[in-house]
């Protein structure tokens, strides 16, 4: 009898654990969905702006300058009388493009470098990391100034500057985590199986770093949006009259006392985008982990 009792008791614990996992899982999926919806909304806005905006973003209309939000101008107008909603719609393009491409450059070059540096603890690895330190020493702003000085200002050069700045960030994160993975027993097991360090890096190390890299990408993406803002502010990023969220925010600084909407709406836009990428990052991290089974 006692035996039967303990078995059913064990089953009870199992099913409780199971429901706890299910609850956690559904909460995560919700965050992931919200993130996905928000990012889709921003992307859609950027796409729509190619064919239609409520007003012309380049049209200066001094007569209707600094209007508070109203039905006519839902997000108000700036000191040149330009419609803030239209500017945010168009600005979404450059924010998305700059941050996404820059993060892409950083991750696609930085992560392999980090993997290589972790796999080769000899001179090669050392050289990579010291090279990283050199790049790391230059802030992205300084990098952009240098690149602009040589190739002239513009969106493409801003992307390259932020991208280069991202390389050592990803390289370091990847190498650090990869080094700790290299000492795991399953890596030893793979080495006993005779796998080359290249195959181990690709098959074992990289998949186990995805979560970390995705989260890092979300952080770098947020920083990318801010960096783009900074570069546009000093005139090295998106060139006027093309609007950019960052420059809108910077320009609003001096007028925040009497026209707060100029800061609030671009600020909200940046916040929503960064936040939704964070949610997606978290969600992807969990989705890519087989230990957290997906409800199907």
């Amino acid at each position: 009898m006692a035996n039967v009792d303990t078995t059913s008791h064990a089953a009870q614990i199992k099913s409780d654990e199971h429901s706890a996992v299910t609850r956690r899982r559904s909460r995560m999926t919700l965050g992931f969905r919200i993130g996905l919806i928000l990012v889709t909304a921003v992307v859609a806005t950027a796409l729509v702006s190619f064919v239609w905006t409520p007003y012309d973003v380049k049209g200066i209309d001094i007569a209707s300058k600094l209007l508070a939000p109203s039905l006519l101008h839902p997000f108000g107008t700036d000191h040149f009388g330009r419609d803030v909603l239209s500017m945010i719609m168009v600005g979404a393009r450059s924010s998305l493009a700059v941050a996404l491409i820059a993060v892409g450059i950083g991750a696609s070059i930085g992560a392999p470098l980090g993997l290589l540096a972790a796999a080769r603890k000899d001179l090669v690895g050392e050289t990579i990391m010291r090279g990283n330190d050199v790049i790391f020493a230059f802030p992205s702003l300084l990098m952009a100034v240098m690149i602009s000085a040589v190739y002239g200002p513009g969106v493409v050069n801003a992307i390259i500057a932020i991208g280069i700045f991202n390389i050592p960030v990803f390289a370091r994160v990847t190498r650090g985590a990869a080094l700790s993975l290299w000492s795991r027993e399953y890596i030893l097991a793979a080495r006993v199986a005779g796998k080359s360090s290249f195959l181990i890096s690709i098959q074992h190390i990289l998949p186990n770093l995805t979560g970390l890299l995705v989260v890092q990408a979300a952080i770098q993406f947020a920083m990318g949006v801010v960096a783009e803002a900074g570069l546009s502010y000093v005139g090295l990023g998106v060139q006027p009259p093309m609007p950019s969220w960052g420059r809108m925010l910077s320009e609003a600084q001096t007028m925040i006392g009497f026209a707060p909407w100029l800061a609030i709406f671009p600020g909200l836009a940046i916040m929503i985008l960064v936040f939704s990428f964070g949610l997606i990052g978290d969600g992807l991290n969990d989705r890519l982990d087989p230990r957290i089974k997906r409800a199907r």
Binding site: H9, Q12, A189, V192, A193, G194, K195, N208, P290
Partner: protein, 541 residues
């Protein structure tokens, strides 16, 4: 009246019951051993007494310590009781101590928390306590830091902190599991001495039945949150009627049945000759640093069908030697030969062939698998070493075959390692090693992390596979009881050298080297201890 009286203790976390109506008593000056496998609730029982249960836990029943009802005390009152009336020692001595605080300050801290004394007074008190736990002032001044101490010395500091206030009750949760056998014996002696000197009641929680048999006065056996058996050591270990306790005791001294006709081959499968591995030593400002020799001119041979044990304490170089044997590290001198061929070799085809014949099973059955790989992927990782690589249906058939060989189901191939228990995972690890039909499998503490009953079954499996497939094993372990029950020959390693080698029975019966003698004496052997205790009882009725 008993020092500690627990009545109908029940604990549940998030509605799921962890402990069921548990009742036990402990007298002052008595040692109570709490035995059980993982998940039996033995640690939870200890935490309930110390008031350290997680926040979500709900407790009912009564815990009375020397007239104080602990079950209804608030956290503030508990802060007063812990340290003063209850001392606690945990498993891992390194994490239990603060690495940036001197040992003197850490002991003095407990004193100052519970008694209004000045710093100097507290430090003097700390000195006395450290003396008492066997860390004399001359060699262990108060300003030493934990990192400069060995594992056993750190555990002594942790014990000093626990007993500084002369508690009535001392709870020790697996206090010697992380220690070497010789150190374990010393720490157990210290516990015995403290219990007598200060009239402390000691609750010793451990999975190791031999440890309990050696020092406890009474024992309780737990399973699934229930107390199955309790009584004196002889009552529980010798004359129990509980089937679970019986099974546990059998598992602890389990010896797999071997094929009597098994013949050990004549030519060595693995031959290690004068292998040396050195690590760079501590750097000096000027001049060259002295390298540390982890493996010092080690030679050994393993023959076909032979099971060899390599034993030694932590830091003796056995893991480094194993890595060299597996070709993960290259020897700085000497060579490793598999079937007479240099290993590792530059020739890729030859290397694949040699890799096929030597495989490994590691200690941690979970850490040994990439958590993102399914079982079929994990097992097929070794396929690329095979002469003809099975693909598609053939691959699946091969995986099923191998899983079947280690007693797993074909459907298990589609699951992830985290979905299995520790014993099942170890079976999968063995399955992976079997893929290439190796001639020799190295087992690096492969059964140390497993519960007793599971350990017994895995040992049976290994014995059966060896008999059926003619695989040689190299057991690398600190656990002498495992070595004794399964190996033909034994190598004892110390400070990078092999100090003794011989047939297992011979070495256990008549150890030659002084270190081997010390090691064997320190290792708790359940059968020996129980018969000694029985003799004691007979001698003093």
């Amino acid at each position: 009246m008993a020092l500690l009286d627990i009545k109908n203790l029940a604990v549940s976390i998030d509605e799921s019951p962890i402990l069921h109506s548990l009742s036990l008593t402990l007298e002052a000056g008595e040692i109570l051993g709490v035995a059980g496998e993982s998940g039996s609730g033995k640690t939870m029982t200890a935490l309930s007494i110390a008031g350290l249960l997680p926040d979500r836990a709900k407790l009912s029943g009564e815990i009375v310590l020397d007239g104080v009802r602990l079950s209804s005390t608030t956290e503030e009152e508990y802060c007063d009781i812990r340290g003063r009336d209850i001392g606690i020692v945990f498993q891992e001595p390194m994490t239990a101590l603060n690495p940036v605080m001197t040992i003197g300050k850490q002991v003095a801290e407990t004193v100052r928390l519970h008694r209004k004394v000045g710093r100097g007074e507290a430090m003097r008190f700390a000195r006395d306590t450290l003396d008492k736990v066997g860390l004399p002032g001359l060699k262990f001044p108060l300003d030493r830091f934990p990192h400069s101490l060995s594992g056993g010395q750190r555990q002594r500091v942790a014990i000093a902190i626990a007993i500084a206030m002369k508690p009535k009750l001392l709870i020790a949760d697996e206090p010697t599991t992380a220690l070497d056998v010789t150190t374990q014996a010393e720490i157990l002696d210290l516990f015995k001495q403290l219990v007598v000197e200060d009239n402390i009641g000691l609750i010793l929680v451990t999975h190791d039945l031999a440890v309990i048999a050696e020092i406890a006065d009474r024992a309780v056996v737990m399973k699934d949150g229930e107390l199955l058996d309790q009584g004196s050591i002889t009552a529980v270990f010798r004359s129990t009627t509980q089937p679970y306790t019986k099974k546990l005791l059998e598992s602890a001294v389990h010896v797999p049945v071997r094929n009597a006709l098994r013949e050990i081959g004549e030519t060595p499968v693995l031959e290690v000759t004068n292998v040396v591995r050195e690590y760079p030593g501590a750097r000096r400002l000027f001049g060259r640093s002295e390298p540390i020799r982890a493996v010092d001119k080690v030679s050994l041979q393993i023959f076909a069908n032979e099971n060899v044990g390599l034993v030694g304490e932590s830091g003796c170089g056995k893991s480094t030697l194993l890595r060299t044997i597996l070709g993960l590290d290259r020897p700085q001198a000497g060579d490793v030969r598999v079937f007479g061929q240099q290993f590792p070799t530059e020739n890729a085809t030859e290397m694949r062939k040699l890799r096929r014949s030597i495989q490994v099973v590691f200690q941690d059955p979970f850490g040994t698998f990439d958590p993102r790989w399914r079982v079929d992927q994990l097992i097929s990782e070794n396929f690329h070493l095979l002469e003809t690589q099975p693909a598609g249906k053939d691959a699946r058939k091969k995986i099923d075959e191998i899983l079947d060989r280690v007693g797993m189901k074909s459907s298990d191939a589609d699951r992830f390692p985290h979905e299995f228990s520790g014993g099942q995972r170890q079976r999968i690890a063995i399955a992976r090693a079997l893929v290439t039909e190796p001639s020799i499998i190295a087992l690096d503490e492969a059964v140390s992390a497993l519960d007793l009953s599971i350990r017994a079954r895995i040992l049976d499996l290994l014995a059966e596979l060896s008999d059926r497939l003619g695989v040689s094993y190299l057991f690398v372990t600190h656990d002498l009881s495992v070595v004794r029950s399964v190996t033909d020959r034994i190598l004892v390693m110390k400070d990078g050298r092999i100090v003794e080698t011989g047939r297992t029975e011979d070495v256990f019966a008549q150890p030659q080297d002084s270190y081997t003698i010390e090691l064997l004496r320190a290792a708790p052997d359940l059968n020996r201890i129980l018969s000694e205790r029985a003799d004691d009882q007979a001698a003093s009725p």
